[in-house]
């Protein structure tokens, strides 16, 4: 029943650090350091982590907006990793992206209708006149009324712009969408509108989401499976409900406990992590997390744990979590 639509194996994306490549070797930044993902059609898969953990790079690598260093990406039976320019373009009709910042993700000098119609024209899916009609329809679906499609992005508020971004992503009728922090730039009262819209569209357009966010509450609301990333690696992966009822990885637990309580008297045991996230240019040996882990052992310093299933659909990469769950 659940057909796998996206399969990512051992994906690695390293960057050269921007500083001097002139004298001395520059360290490479391991933004994504061996990630495996399998996303089923119709799913909404959440990718969670703090800034710099590589979640956005993962999303972009999957769409090959950033060239991954190694690994394989398979989308609906087609190899994304090795696709040439032409087939990549075709693939991009089906794999789209929604961006975090609705202010910078729209070309300020294009009219909204042109922005949304552009994918159709680029992919030669429609004649200009048809494209406009199609674009208007999608815009309407996304809550941008017909009367304002000739305006420029600057004339819209943040929430409306995000609707335009969504419309642009949907106009080629993609099957898979990477949504990178789609609401984090928006006010609370607007966030809800967009999150609801994304959920509605998922049903309407039978979409599969890779939903990237730092906000656990939002991820909980909109996803049905979740993976937690730390320093370029997935540390835990589970069904959303399972995860929130009992995360296993110490980092997941700390992360969850760090979320401000919802009500003032909610009694919450805080796990306050000490220290900062290490640099991805120079990750610690052994388990990435051991420098901040309240529970770390000697083993953690030496051996990096593998992501191992502990129950159905629930895997975790921790030497200790495995023990405790057993």
């Amino acid at each position: 029943m659940c057909e796998e639509i996206l399969s990512v194996k051992d994906l690695k994306t390293y960057f050269n650090s921007r500083t001097s490549t002139f004298l001395g070797k520059s360290p490479s930044i391991r933004a994504v350091d061996g990630i495996n993902l399998s996303i089923n059609a119709g799913e909404s898969f959440g990718l969670v982590g703090e800034s710099g953990c590589g979640k956005s790079t993962t999303g972009r690598s999957i769409l090959r907006l950033i060239q991954p260093t190694s690994g394989s990406i398979n989308f609906a039976g087609r190899d994304v990793m090795t696709a040439d320019k032409k087939s990549l373009r075709t693939l991009r009709r089906e794999m789209q992206m929604i961006f975090q910042d609705p202010y910078s993700s729209l070309n300020p000098r294009m009219r909204v209708l042109d922005i949304v119609a552009e994918p159709l024209i680029v992919h030669r899916l429609a004649k200009p006149s048809e494209a406009a009609t199609k674009a208007k329809k999608v815009l309407d679906h996304c809550g941008i009324p017909d009367g304002s499609v000739q305006r420029f992005p600057r004339e819209f508020s943040g929430g409306q712009r995000q609707r335009i971004v969504i419309a642009r992503a949907l106009v080629t009728r993609p099957r898979f969408i990477v949504a990178d922090e789609p609401v984090s730039a928006l006010d609370v009262s607007i966030q809800a509108q967009i999150l609801n819209l994304l959920q509605d569209l998922r049903d309407e357009y039978s979409l599969t989401y890779l939903f990237i966010s730092h906000d656990l509450a939002i991820v909980r609301t909109v996803t049905n499976r979740i993976a937690v990333m730390y320093l370029g690696k997935i540390v835990e992966q589970a069904d959303t409900s399972v995860f929130f009822s009992g995360p296993l990885h110490p980092y997941s637990r700390a992360l969850l406990s760090s979320v401000p309580r919802e009500t003032p008297d909610e009694d919450k045991k805080r796990i306050i992590l000490t220290g900062n996230i290490p640099s991805a240019a120079n990750p610690p040996k052994g388990c990435n997390f051991h420098t901040r882990c309240p529970l770390f052992t000697e083993k953690c310093k030496k051996i990096a744990p593998e992501l191992i299933p502990v129950s159905k659909g629930h895997s975790v990469a921790c030497h200790l979590a495995l023990k405790s769950s057993k």
Partner: protein
């Protein structure tokens, strides 16, 4: 309430901003009292005027803005009657401030220590060496490891969390009576945010500092404050005890806001979104600023702004739903 000493009192404060299209009130008749040792949260979405409010109290408005009416009392002293110099002294000694962006809040060209010591030297007359000792102490207090070396580091060499800790140390340096924290954790990651919130809470307890905490995040507010003021469109919608805010919200806006936010317990549920947009400063509606988005709005709401009504549990709310004709309308200062 009344047996407690009131530290900060704001009366009918109105702040105007001049833009290219005219002059608008960013803060529109705000009243509140803050008791010594308490923490008050000001919560609002972007453009609600919450930052303008805190800047008006600090007397640090941009050139285009000015307070047009109202009073600000600190310890009974009307700050608005002070000269620039005297105001500076008050800010340096009695008010500590923490801002949102920890990177740009430091002068990039001077060391962290220098910048924290600056006000100590300036206001407390400490010598360089004395200031250094005090600063290192402070850095330790805010949980910065190896404070001696951090003293000589530059802002860009510290992580965001460390910088925010340093910022807190800087705010605490002259042992102020009140700390105004404007979105102090917004730019931070959630685990770091938890650290900072924990630190602020501890400090508040230990030092019994009064805190004015400005944030857009209800969850963060819930962590740290005793009472909350919800602002929208430059006006106070509701001023209430933090428990009441969550369990017994009065204002339709507060209610809607609580329902709209995703929480850790809302899996798969549809959120109750608030229709419409947050109005910009220049496009604020007349009457109650929330009325175009309010499900319970009546015609009256669009015409006249509702007065502040005091309900039981000392919940104060500005909404026509609670304000009846025969009731005495208007502010009842509880001095």
């Amino acid at each position: 309430m009344s047996e407690q000493e009131i530290l900060l009192s704001v009366r009918n404060l109105r702040t105007l901003i001049k833009t290219a299209n005219g002059t608008f009130s960013a803060v529109d008749g705000v009243n509140f009292d803050l008791e010594k040792g308490k923490a008050l949260g000001i919560v609002g979405e972007s453009g609600s005027g919450k930052t303008m409010l805190s800047m008006s109290i600090l007397g640090l408005l941009p050139q285009t803005a000015r307070i047009s009416e109202g009073e600000v009392f600190l310890n009974g002293e009307d700050l608005r009657t002070l000269s620039k110099k005297e105001y500076k002294k008050i800010r340096g000694k009695k008010i500590g401030t923490i801002f949102q962006e920890p990177l740009t809040s430091f002068d990039p060209l001077y060391t962290i220590g220098d910048q924290i010591a600056e006000s100590l030297k300036h206001h407390c007359g400490l010598k360089r060496s004395e200031a250094r000792i005090k600063v290192i102490e402070l850095l330790e207090t805010v949980g910065i490891p190896r404070p001696e070396s951090v003293y000589d580091e530059f802002p860009f060499q510290l992580s965001g969390g460390m910088r925010q800790r340093a910022m807190i140390a800087m705010a605490l340096a002259p042992s102020p009576e009140i700390i105004i924290a404007d979105e102090p954790t917004t730019a931070l990651d959630v685990t770091i945010q938890a650290q900072i919130l924990e630190l602020l809470k501890d400090l508040q307890k230990e030092r019994n500092v009064t805190v004015l905490f400005v944030s857009h995040d209800l969850g963060v507010i819930a962590e740290i404050v005793d009472e909350v003021m919800v602002v929208y469109g430059g006006q106070v919608m509701e001023h209430t005890d933090v428990n009441n805010l969550f369990y017994n919200p009065a204002h339709p806006y507060t209610k809607a806001l609580l329902k709209a936010r995703p929480t850790l317990t809302t899996e798969g549920k549809r959120l109750r979104a608030i229709a419409g947009q947050v109005p910009s400063l220049e496009a604020r509606p007349s009457g109650c600023p929330f009325h175009p988005r309010c499900e319970q709005a009546t015609e009256k709401c669009s015409k006249k702004a509702p007065p502040m009504t005091v309900l039981e549990n000392s919940i104060r709310v500005a909404c026509w739903l609670y304000c009846h004709e025969n009731e005495k309308s208007g502010e009842q200062p509880n001095v």
